[in-house]
Amino acid sequence: MEGAQRPLVALVGPPNSGKSTLFNRLTGLRQKVANYPGVTVERKVGRARLRDGREIDVVDLPGVNGFSARTLDERITRDVLEGRAEGIRPPDAVVLIVDVTRFEQQLMLCEPVLELGVPTLLVLNMSDELDRRGGRIDEELLADQLGVEVVRAAVRTGRGMGAVDRFLAGAVDRGAFPERPCPAVRNVPHGVQLPMVDVFAQRRQRVRALARDARFAPAGPSPLQERLDSVLLHRVWGPLVFLVVVLVVFQAMFTWATPLMDGVEWLIATSGEWVRGALPPSWFRSLLVDGVWAGVGSVLVFLPQILVLFLFLGVMEDSGYMARAAVIADRLMYRVGLQGRAFLPLLSAYACAVPAILSARTVEDERDRLTTIFVTPFMTCSARLPVYALLIAAFVPERPVVGPLMGTRAATLLGLYGLGVGAAVGTAFLIRRTILRGHAAPFLMELPSYRIPSLASLGLRLLDRSKVFLRRAGRVILGVAVVLWLLTQVPRSGGSPPPIERSALGVAGHVVEPVIRPLGFDWKIGIGLVSSLAAREVIVGTLGTINGVQDADEGSLELQAALRRDLDLGGAVALLVFFAFALQCMSTVAVMRRETNGWRWPALQFSYMLALAYLGAYLANRLI
């Protein structure tokens, strides 16, 4: 195909129907797959190689229940289908993929999609489940009725892939259309004057007629699902299991991840020493070891913790439990102005706010989504932990509180987690009564069938998470580390770096000192705060540098002693409170700007959290 563009085929369908599974099968790429509606939140293009060796572009889209374009997901899908999305050609063919066990509801998408006038293949996915539960459908009769190709498939096992391949081959034969006028895809077709309810009702009648003519017999009830639901959604057992699950997740994050984190820490320290030994002393060695290595290393340490959390989230999503957990959480969250779908983003935020804010797209209502995004950074992300750990170790003596179960240190940490939750709840409550006032949106949650999570899908997800995380470490933290190192090196006098107090960084600390005095912080802590504006965890390394402590981490006794000299107890508590509230994370601000389409929300968020942090720290310092 010299010069000509490759044709593009779009994968469309309701949430959780198997689009990403098909995409991965076709392209060999690794899109996140999960048993939770609304997992794919961005379009993703890949190249599929057909059995005859030719190639075609495939785009995986967020699942939609209709084309009202209420949500960001729906707008992305609609824009791609209508050929209005930037940087992607209008699709030359469409694969509509539905969960055949929910045939009647899912086929409601069929008419609007066919209206596009693009060659379409209807994939009746999950036919393995339909068969198992005694359902039935005649796809040939259905194809006759609809006038498009239909295939019964089970994409996960590979059934029906031959027909998909043939359809794609046909699309390649036809080639890429030259630019064509954009058709519209709407719930209510253009020119139709009927009220929306009637449009839907009539469409439903036609779908029902189709089902009858294709001899559709619905799947029988799934005994496994009923048995599990009767426990997991039980009045008493339901919340109990929910609580245990959440506790296990946290337990895993804190205890099971620890040996892995120690391992990573050891690796970084040893390799850093090795590099130091291998290079002659120079400014370059200092930059590499003290700037880059220490900075990036301080972030890499959290990778195991994040992966453990996402492993658990993955199992919860893939098994189908996450949707149930969202239902259980809904009542509580509704009371504070959120909704059940916010549970997943908020739980992920305990690892990192960035993926959490992205997954807030699964929150359907726009006001609910914004509220969720707004409170997400209050959840105690892993970047706060080293700061907490350092200060707690330095200032809180270990004494038993609840017998041998919990000591003062664990209790303090728990209190800080609670502080974050409290701030989130209060904030949600507040903004639902001010800038995001309005009726509560209807909450509707489809409960998917229970499935056994696939190892491949879990593995891919962890890989994906690591990549995102490492990219952050590579860009933001690397940049910050280098800049900070530079600021400690100038102004140079006589070829050697200045004492820290007279370096550019030290001057910055002195400049902010009057402002932070009331919080009980001196210029050294000021430097730490300035340096942690881009990423919280950086403060540990900075404080180490200022106090001349080599390889400072939160476990360093030397650093703890230095801190005890600079801070009194009130100041330490104030610093903890400051970190619990302030939005010191460039990545979060950036992702927020993208997700809310502008600087308004991130700016508001940053100032609000800073004000809250300052006030909280001030009060803490005064009261203690």
């Binding site: 409601m108 309810v197 009702a201 809904d330 209807p442 909450f443």
Partner: protein, 110 residues
Amino acid sequence: MSPRSLPTVGPTAGSVPEQPQELRLDAVPLQQTVELVRIDLPIEQVEPLLERGLLPGCRMCPVRRSPGGDPIVTVDGNLLALRREMAGCLCVRLADGDFVQDGDPTPGPR
């Protein structure tokens, strides 16, 4: 919030007074199949319901309650969780032929 004072959406929008055999979904006992008659919600809130098949005329059956007391219903093989506030806005009537259970297209567990 009084759901009853909201505008009505349905094929018979506002024209027919509430029939005596009509009831609200939140008052329907578990395992009782009913037919949706009307959705008493403002029009802009109805679309997500329509898209998920909660259409006037559809058959639904509350199969259990969530721990918070919210109904979980099956609609055409779909398992959906709603809030009881919304269930209070769904006006339903007992499905015809409900007494002969085998003619029921909505798979409901025993």
